[in-house]
Amino acid sequence: MIVTVKLFGMLKAQLHNQSELKVPLEQGGRVDDLIAAIQAMNPEVGDLLLKRKILVSVNHEIAHGETELAGSDEIALLPPFSGGSWTPGRMPADVYR
């Protein structure tokens, strides 16, 4: 299958202003396989993915390496947001109350 991967921000600029990548994957491929495929295509971007400086979203949610992909999934590479990076253990609401 071929998955389409949306690009944003500095990543788009880094990849010659392409707004998306087409990446061939085995049927049932996972996010980790996608990262490996991107690593082979562009080691610099692949390294940022491996270091989790760039995150992968699948259908508008941050995905883990084991997440299985389908050709119909909406996949994106997300460089650091302008307000900060995605931190799983971020401040819970009750700290503010």
């Binding site: 949306k6 944003f8 921000g9 500095m10 600029a13 979203s57 508008h60 909406e74 994106a76 997300l78 460089p79 650091p80 947001f81 302008s82 307000g83 900060g84 990076s85 995605w86 931190t87 971020r90 401040m91 609401a93 009750d94 503010y96 109350r97």
Partner: protein, 147 residues
């Protein structure tokens, strides 16, 4: 107005600027129980990391950004003692001094409104796929992080 229409008006990503008074009224008119409204307005500044900035461009991930903003509003309504929350963010080219982002929180009491408002803007900056590109004398710089 249906629930969907209401939510669409209270959570928006848009190119054009906005009237703060109109947005405050949108929250104020939701309930006569509201006794305090807290706002946060983010504006475009001309200095960043010791560089002059002449213009800012915001890019966002259509669909995911709105989803994350809706989640922030819903969690604020659930986790804080507040009555209504409005979250609005602009995209595209924004000149120095212009509005960028607005949070409006209505509550019975000011303390809850202030706390929820701060939480909403902090959370927005953490989880919403929005990217900022600053035009500087050295060229365009994609901003990764701001406190």
């Amino acid at each position: 107005m249906s629930t969907v229409d209401t939510e669409a008006a209270l959570v928006r990503v848009q190119r054009e600027t906005f009237s703060i008074d109109e947005e405050i009224d949108r929250v104020r008119n939701r309930s006569t129980r509201i006794g305090g409204i807290a706002t946060f307005l983010g504006t475009a500044r001309d200095r960043s990391d010791d560089r002059d900035v002449s213009r800012i461009t915001f890019e966002y991930y259509e669909g995911m950004a709105q989803k994350k903003l809706r989640e922030i509003r819903e969690r604020a309504l659930q986790d804080f003692d507040v009555i209504e929350v409005l979250i609005l963010h602009r995209y595209g080219e924004i000149d120095i001094g212009e509005n960028i982002v607005l949070i409006v929180v209505g509550a019975m009491h000011r303390a809850d409104a202030f706390k929820a408002c701060k939480w909403c803007i902090d959370e927005l900056k953490q989880i919403t796929p929005i990217w900022k590109c600053e035009q500087t004398p050295d060229g365009q710089v994609w901003v990764e992080q701001h406190p």
